[in-house]
């Protein structure tokens, strides 16, 4: 009960700020918190990245293992994306099997990678119908101060940039690198008091009526979108969010995903 009262107070605080044209941390409505991306930090993984957006922190590890293809795509590798909202990261998270929030997080991150065709899945086929590389993208949330989607999606593509195919471990030869073909970037916006806020933090997420994630590719096209939250959006708001999303993605891509 006490917790709910505090949540209401925080919500009011955020809404008041926004009505006055302000945000916590003195940010502008279209401004991200400070972003940092560290790559290749987990030895045991074939690719990894730690992304911080403000106090939000996400670790993404990519493991590549040999396995069987799906029967309807015998000549393609497999991507499996998983997100763990471990209770370490937030007082709201609980132990247990994935719930709808972690499922949605994993599926939205997966959608960006998959639909942008960032990974050339055909290059992951070793023997049609028998042996392909399976790329496990594991999102491990460490600190949840809001906007996990953007952090996780950025971590995923950053981790994939350095991916090493572990041919040696399986006694195979071949290319160990896997050049990415695109760099999808997710940009999430929240609607608070009729305003569009880029990169909502935890308090802003709770004050928002709805959120929209826009995933766009290097050429400015869209590869994924997801609305969440209990409010509605007008056509012109959605269109504006898409424009902002594409523009912000371009900035992030240039700054943090340069090597491509």
């Amino acid at each position: 009960m006490g917790l709910e009262i505090i949540a209401d107070i925080r919500k009011d605080y955020v809404c008041n700020l926004v009505r006055g044209g302000k945000r916590e941390e003195g940010r502008g409505f279209r401004e991200y918190r400070e972003i940092s991306v560290e790559r290749d930090i987990i030895k045991r993984a074939e690719g990894s990245a730690r992304v911080k957006i403000g106090d939000t922190e996400v670790l993404v590890g990519v493991k590549v293992e040999l396995g069987e293809p799906f029967s309807d795509t015998p000549d393609k590798g497999v991507i499996i994306t998983n997100a763990e909202l471990v209770p370490l990261a937030s007082p709201e998270f609980e132990s247990g099997p994935p719930n709808e929030n972690s499922v949605q997080l994993a599926r939205v991150v997966d959608r960006g990678i998959r639909e942008s065709k960032a990974i050339d899945l055909e290059k992951l086929c070793i023997e049609e119908g028998e042996k392909v590389w399976i790329v496990f993208i594991d999102v491990h949330v460490l600190d949840n101060d809001g906007n996990l989607v953007d952090a996780a999606a950025l971590g995923a593509i950053a981790a994939l940039l350095d991916i090493r195919i572990p041919n040696e471990r399986y006694g195979l030869t071949g290319e160990n690198t896997l050049p990415m073909r695109d760099t999808p970037v997710a940009v999430t916006m929240a609607e608070v008091e009729g305003n569009i806020l880029v990169d909502p933090n935890f308090n802003e997420e709770n004050a928002a009526t709805s959120r929209l994630t826009v995933i766009s590719n290097a050429d400015g096209s869209l590869s994924g979108m997801q609305k969440s939250g209990s409010g509605g959006l007008k056509e012109e708001e959605v269109v504006e969010m898409v424009e902002i999303g594409i523009e912000k993605a371009r900035e992030i891509r240039e700054k943090y995903l340069s090597p491509l």
């Binding site: 994935p98 719930n99 709808e100 499922v103 949605q104 994993a106 599926r107 959608r111 998959r114 639909e115 942008s116 065709k117 929209l212 590719n217 400015g220 096209s221 869209l222 590869s223 994924g224 979108m225 997801q226 609305k227 969440s228 939250g229 209990s230 409010g231 509605g232 959006l233 007008k234 056509e235 959605v238 269109v239 898409v242 424009e243 594409i246």
Partner: protein
């Protein structure tokens, strides 16, 4: 969305099932089809067959999940094992968990949850036969079932997907189009106020295609809204006698 677009999905300006680009599949709506549910709706869109049932408002279980200020909406989208080509294992998978969440949120803005603190309003949607567009078909059926159950709502929710096939933005993809197309974008909308309550997209769309698709989908939601209304009006006028009887 598959990569291969070798299969021609548009021939002589028509789609494989003969539809034009901006044409809906035929829709059939039946209301009050189940006895035990408080409200229900059977709906067909093309080859999709879906049934929705609503229970509640009734006591929310488990108790610790009750909300002291308003009703909790539960929404369960489920596919029958035989509704798809390869038998689906019974029970929720990640896809249905996500669809259930997105669908529930599509109804959040219209259901007057504050009327029923501590209660649950439960929406169950079963896909009996599927051919792409199941989540939007489910939302359309659920909307009518909620009305049939007498759940207070500010308005109905209507839902449809647009997609891209052979480079063209078209309305309401079939399974073949979805599997061989380039993009899919389901939306849900409160037609009367043009308020978008659900929006997903995957595949590849330019910004211009997106804008065109969004307009197309919103227009189609108006058509669906009229079908939903018409079905409810027909049902309401037919069942007057029955309602009288119930009131005794």
């Amino acid at each position: 969305m598959k990569e291969g677009t070798e299969r021609k999905l548009i021939i002589d300006g028509k789609r494989l099932d003969g539809r034009g680009f901006e044409e809906l599949r035929p829709i059939k709506i039946e209301i009050g089809v189940l006895k035990r549910a408080d409200g229900s709706c059977y709906l067909e869109v093309g080859d999709n067959k879906v049934i929705a049932a609503v229970y509640g408002p009734r006591e929310m279980h488990p108790r610790h999940a009750q909300d002291a200020k308003m009703a909790v909406i539960k929404y369960r989208y489920n596919m029958a094992p035989f509704s798809v080509d390869d038998r689906k294992r019974p029970g929720p998978d990640r896809r249905s968990v996500e669809i259930s969440k997105v669908s529930r949120e599509a109804f959040d803005p219209v259901i007057m949850k504050e009327y029923y603190p501590k209660m649950a309003i439960e929406v169950y949607v079963e896909m009996l036969q599927s051919d792409a567009g199941t989540r939007t078909a489910g939302i359309n059926a659920a909307s009518v079932a909620l009305a049939d159950a007498g759940i207070p709502m500010t308005d109905l929710v209507s839902s449809i997907a647009v997609g891209k096939i052979d480079g063209e933005v078209v309305l309401d993809l079939t399974g073949v189009e979805d599997n061989n197309g380039e993009a899919d974008m389901p939306i849900a909308m409160i037609a009367r106020t043009n308020t978008i309550t659900a929006l997903q997209m995957d595949g590849h769309l330019t910004k211009e295609e997106f804008k065109r698709g969004l307009k197309l989908a919103m227009g189609a939601c108006h058509q669906i809204y009229e079908l939903q209304r018409a079905a409810l009006i027909e049902r309401y006028s037919k069942s007057e006698g029955r309602e009288e009887k119930k009131r005794d």
